[in-house]
């Protein structure tokens, strides 16, 4: 089986984001593998261990420096990588088209993974668009996964601990959530090995994707400032508790 793991090269959540012009960020910050994608790679590696003959391919639509992130994916267990090199940013519709085209060109997917969302734009939809393009079933926020002969049994988490268990035909697409596994971070030998693994580069323009006018476009980006003025509540526990109740009642009006 071939497992394709779609990964994203995103700014580190700890990075300071500064805005350039009207609608872009200064990309001169540390970028890394989207945290949810780590669960996808770890799960793919686990399946490969149980199913000899499985190949794990990491696919990334990114600018040239995304190769670094692709190498991290190889160090986490992917066998090889495909970098679809782009010059500018696209919305999730175009992203799904590009990933689909690259995967289809490369092989026969048995499973396609993505993270359940990316921490930069948080669109939460690319997995569904890939699924619709292939006509494969899709599940998101997958926290448990069992692959059987011709089906997958997945547990998806809703909020408040409520879960849904789905049976899906293969091939299928899955958005991985926290709780699925504990990411297996690469050891030094893994990193060394990852440097020798093949990465194929495809130009986005070679995929002949028709970029239509319909879609989503960021027209303005503004920093979110916080203007909170912290006030200390002093006194013993009883005084503090009474003051908290007053605040909840009179100021926040939630009691």
């Amino acid at each position: 089986m071939q497992i394709y793991v779609c990964i994203k090269h995103v700014p580190d959540s700890a990075a300071n984001i500064s805005i350039i012009g009207k609608n872009s960020i200064d990309e001169n910050v540390n970028f890394l593998l989207n945290p949810y994608d780590e669960h996808a790679l770890t799960e793919a590696a686990r399946i490969k261990n149980n199913l000899p003959g499985t190949e794990v391919i990491a696919v990334c639509l990114g600018k040239a420096d995304a190769e670094k992130t692709l190498r991290s994916a190889l160090a986490m267990g992917a066998d090889r990588g495909i970098l679809i090199a782009k010059e500018k940013n696209y919305d999730s519709r175009v992203t799904a088209l590009a990933l689909k085209a690259a995967i289809e060109h490369d092989g026969k997917p048995g499973l396609i993974f993505t993270g359940k969302e990316s921490i930069d734009e948080g669109g939460m939809q690319t997995m569904f668009r890939i699924g619709a393009l292939f006509d494969f079933p899709v599940a998101t926020n997958v926290v448990k996964l069992d692959i059987e002969a011709d089906r997958a049994v997945v547990v998806c988490e809703l909020s408040g601990g409520i879960t849904h268990t789905y049976e899906m035909s293969l091939p299928c697409v899955m958005g991985t959530g926290r709780g699925l596994n504990t990411p297996r971070y690469p050891t030094f030998p893994d990193v060394v090995k990852s440097k020798k693994k093949p990465v194929q580069k495809i130009a986005f323009t070679d995929l002949n994707i028709k970029v239509s006018l319909a879609g989503m476009r960021v027209i303005e980006l503004k920093p979110l400032y916080q203007a909170r003025q912290p006030k200390e509540i002093k006194g013993d526990a009883t005084v503090v508790a009474k003051e908290l109740i007053r605040i909840l009642k009179q100021e926040a009006k939630v009691l």
Partner: protein
């Protein structure tokens, strides 16, 4: 005249509070507001929906065994969108919405912005947070049908009385291949208030020290009708389940009040709760970064303060 559709989320047969702000946002002059109900309870929710300006309630009738299949629901819903010429669709960006709205957008090949806290119906733009809550993005949508996932609690509900008719939309023949629901529900704490939709959240972090101490938060939460959240440290230590995590890689919340107990306030935690109305921090560590980015703080141990708070609330 534009037709706008709002997908109503029910909880035990009642219209969830968060729908009302969403309906308020979708309302405008020259707009016909449709409410879509997929759970066969249109009559019982008619009064509340029409008091917020809904004029047509469409009850989508699914086959019994497809009732909770998100793929079937999405298919039936897009048939209804086409049938009633809906140009904009609003749904809640809840756990259920995250498994439903993108399915619809994908099947329609239509644009969708999730986690919107504002939508401009004229300009066809939506506002959402990007880059771990560090920026506000205004996104232009273009296409025949536009979809919006609305952050619960982001909009204050305002009433507008109308009279609504109920239409049935038979979708009992709709069936999604490839995905079958084997089991649903199975809540660990079914009485727990949903994090994303709660007005008040009381959350614990490293300072809670262990799993048992979280009971202190649950006891207090039941007195103030709050949901209980947790920081990454607390879930990674196995004290509480992942579903309780607030932050970058957890739930993004906007309650009216967020009470952080023993949480230092990392950038990643703030990414999930910085849009809270009021932040109250209880932390013994005076260098905790949350103390300089909140509305009220107490430099004491939450394990000492919260039980006293619960006791006073108990005695009226």
């Amino acid at each position: 005249m534009k037709n706008i559709g709002v997908i109503i989320e029910l909880d035990k047969g009642r219209v969830k509070e968060a729908n009302l702000g969403m309906i308020t946002l979708a309302r405008a002059k020259d707009v016909k507001l449709f409410a879509f109900v997929l759970d066969k309870q249109a009559i019982s929710v008619k009064a509340v929906l029409e008091s917020f300006g809904i004029t047509t309630i469409v009850e989508i009738c699914l086959a019994k065994d497809q009732q909770n299949n998100p793929a079937t629901r999405a298919k039936a819903m897009i048939n209804a969108i086409k049938k009633f010429n809906i140009s904009m669709v609003f749904g809640l960006c809840t756990a259920m919405g995250k498994d439903f709205l993108p399915r619809m957008a994908a099947l329609l090949d239509a644009p969708l912005v999730m986690d919107c806290f504002f939508v401009d119906l004229e300009q066809k733009t939506a506002r959402t947070y990007q880059y771990s809550g560090k920026t506000i993005a205004t996104i232009q949508l273009s296409g025949q049908t536009l979809l919006f996932g609305i952050r619960p609690n982001a909009i204050e509900p305002v009433k507008a009385q109308e009279k609504a008719r109920i239409l049935k939309f038979d979708s009992s023949h709709v069936f999604a291949g490839g995905l079958r629901v084997i089991k649903s529900g199975g809540a660990e704490k079914s009485t727990a208030i949903n994090l994303a939709e709660a007005d008040v959240i009381i959350a614990g972090g490293r300072g809670m020290k262990n799993s048992e101490n979280f009971n202190i938060l649950f006891q207090c939460a039941s007195k103030i009708n709050a949901a209980v959240g947790a920081s990454r440290v607390a879930v990674d230590s196995g004290w509480v389940p992942y579903s309780m995590q607030v932050g970058q890689t957890g739930e993004k919340v906007s309650p009216k009040v967020y009470i952080a107990c023993g949480i230092s306030g990392s950038i990643q935690h703030f990414a999930g709760m910085k849009t809270s109305g009021m932040i109250i921090a209880i932390n013994t560590d005076e260098n905790a970064s949350i103390l300089s980015n909140c509305d009220y703080y107490v430099k004491k141990d939450a394990l000492e303060i919260i039980p006293v708070l619960t006791r006073i609330l108990d005695n009226g």
